[in-house]
Symmetry: C2
Subunit: 383 residues, 2 copies
């Protein structure tokens, strides 16, 4: 979808009736999937029965269509049968195929099963928790999806420079393991250090959540020297922090020492925030250019945060078939030389079958009609 | 770093003494940052004093060096002063500059403050929790970093096709809001539905964590029809599930109905797993090709999981200056036409100052010596 939002013509091929995400939760009362509508924005949808030989031929023709802008396949289907790279390549020698798989052997793995293996659920949640806490955001899926876009762009660049296509593989499990290495978790464990749960604290410097007088909650961060000075100034605790430094023999201007002294620092800050309302805290924090955030529900975000509205150029109101007007994000990248396109709706299943077969493969109306009659291809499910 | 691991010559410019991440936790006993070593793999490091006019000139010359492979700047510094796009562009009209910022107005925001705003900490943790739970993985940073790589590759493609450079902006906050839209959270809230905490359950189908007889814990997923059948077969609960379908008037072959019946499904599965050891559960699950994962600590992952070892082609043992031999991940993308390069170490701060000024700017030894003497540039901090 990222590439579609960048302007690529992304054609999604589904079987009649759709795949599982066509009905995936969250759904509306009549079963329209908000998940599908969110993750397929700006794509074109074609329905082809891949169980039939004719259907596989049509799909192959679409995948291997000529032209420098075409000939790229992204799939999470195993590269075998008609989707084997060597088979497809017979139709387009410079094809680029990117296969996303669970583990690198082709075994099954999803975000929910990869995350427990890398150890994070045992580090998430309150300090005194003795249970595992799964993340709600499918972070590994998200990083893998963006890395797939990097892989396609890199392979396209290679093809443009050398003429050579290729098969690229990306395993969800490898992506998660790579990130655990990048962030230092693996090196830490190799050195025999066991990371402990730190609750909602920022690891390695100072940051923690605090309640306010009116029952709200804020996340306060003192990571950089400027943020730390801002925090001391906004809470009026500069002298107390200097005294604490002396008492503990630590240098609170150093990130690591702030982390070591976090309980004592928090004990000084908490009473100052507990006696002020969110509005008062916000005014003081903003006056000192601090880095902080309020905790809010998704409903509050959508109903009252201007960042999540058409006041932000990334968002537009889009008429989504099956749902109606929706607030939808476009691409978060803002290019100075390319005009920002408003978000586009997700297609209905099979909405573009006729159009794509005519445009891309040059099929005529009679031929397309015959394929419909033989149920090799499918129409717009909503029609 | 992703682009460096893809083969780009990525030169990182730091001031003398380094920026904050040079000492960021996790650190070794002598203060070497495992965070720095993880996130700067394969880059070259140059130390330049940007507070001096001569230093800014040198940096400008590096940023605007000629050639189709050069002329790209990625920074989280505000685009003003000598880093204003219009100023830099005077030296290279087709410069590509990508600025990562906190919010889109240039205000301060980090992963820790964006996450509370989008609502996820109120959805994370046990069903009966009444507190917020922050994520441990800096997921928004990770997605933003990968999207930045997408932005640079897309801008480079545009430049290669049109000759035109540009300034690209990417705000961490926008990235998080876009993802909340992509996943359907925003649409759900717009429709007046408030997502509830579901603990460790998979949302929208069946998936949950269960303890085993030997005190281990597994995450079990029945998302696809094949996974669901595997789960029924591996636990020998096919008949019980059919009966449960009838009793509840639900179709457990449909994802959403499995989610609705999740407590009853879990109540059937739990006793079966509680009487088997992890090894027995693993054997049964693997025999049925199920999608599952065990919960383990990072230490267990590193010490005993073959996926996190040099048995996986992505990993190699790298001699990291300041630390010694470390297990390091290369790129998770596996290209068929480009040989997989082993992971490379992160540089010491300033390790490549001389080499880069000679290579890229063609400065001679005497000139480089003079710049060192005037403290405009810095040497390897480890030397």
């Amino acid at each position: 979808m990222t590439l579609a939002q960048l302007g690529a013509d992304v054609i999604r091929i589904d079987p009649p009736g759709g795949r599982l995400d066509w009905r995936r939760w969250p759904v509306t009362d009549d079963g329209t999937s908000l998940f599908w509508c969110g993750l397929n924005k700006a794509k074109r949808s074609v329905v082809i029965d891949l169980a039939s030989a004719q259907g596989r031929e049509l799909a192959t023709a679409l995948i291997c269509a000529p032209g420098p802008e075409a000939g790229m396949l992204l799939t999470n289907f195993p590269p075998r049968g008609f989707l084997a790279y060597e088979s497809l390549r017979a139709w387009r020698p410079d094809l680029i195929q990117l296969t996303i798989q669970g583990d690198r052997h082709g075994g099954s793995a999803v975000d929910y099963t990869v995350n427990p293996r890398v150890g994070l659920p045992l580090l998430t949640g309150p300090v005194d928790a003795d249970d595992v806490v799964n993340h709600v955001l499918p972070a590994w899926d998200l990083v893998t999806g963006h890395m797939a876009a990097v892989g396609l762009l890199a392979a396209e660049r290679h093809r443009r420079l050398t003429g050579e296509g290729q098969h690229v593989r990306l395993a969800l499990e490898d992506m998660a393991l790579a990130v655990m290495g990048h962030l230092g978790f693996i090196a830490e464990a190799q050195l025999g250090r066991q990371r402990e749960r730190v609750g909602n604290d920022l690891y390695g410097a100072f940051g923690r959540d605090f309640p306010t007088a009116d029952g709200e909650r804020v996340m306060v961060v003192g990571l950089t020297p400027r943020q730390w000075r801002g925090l001391c100034d906004a809470t009026g605790l500069g002298a107390e922090m200097a005294q604490l430094s002396q008492e503990l023999g630590l240098d609170l201007d150093a990130e690591g020492d702030r982390f070591r002294a976090r309980e004592r620092i928090a004990a000084l800050i908490a009473p100052r925030l507990r006696e002020r309302t969110l509005a008062q805290v916000a005014a003081a924090f903003d006056a000192h250019g601090m880095c902080w955030g309020r905790y809010q529900t998704v409903a509050q975000l959508v109903q009252s945060d201007p960042s999540c509205s058409t006041a932000t150029p990334m968002f537009s109101t889009v008429d989504q078939p099956g749902i109606g007007p929706c607030l939808k994000p476009g691409l978060p990248l803002d290019f100075s030389a390319i005009e920002r396109a408003p978000a586009r709706p997700a297609p209905r299943l099979g909405q573009h079958t006729e159009e794509v077969l005519a445009d891309v493969l040059g099929l005529g109306g009679a031929e397309i009609g015959r394929l419909f009659d033989q149920r090799v291809i499918g129409r717009d499910a909503g029609a």
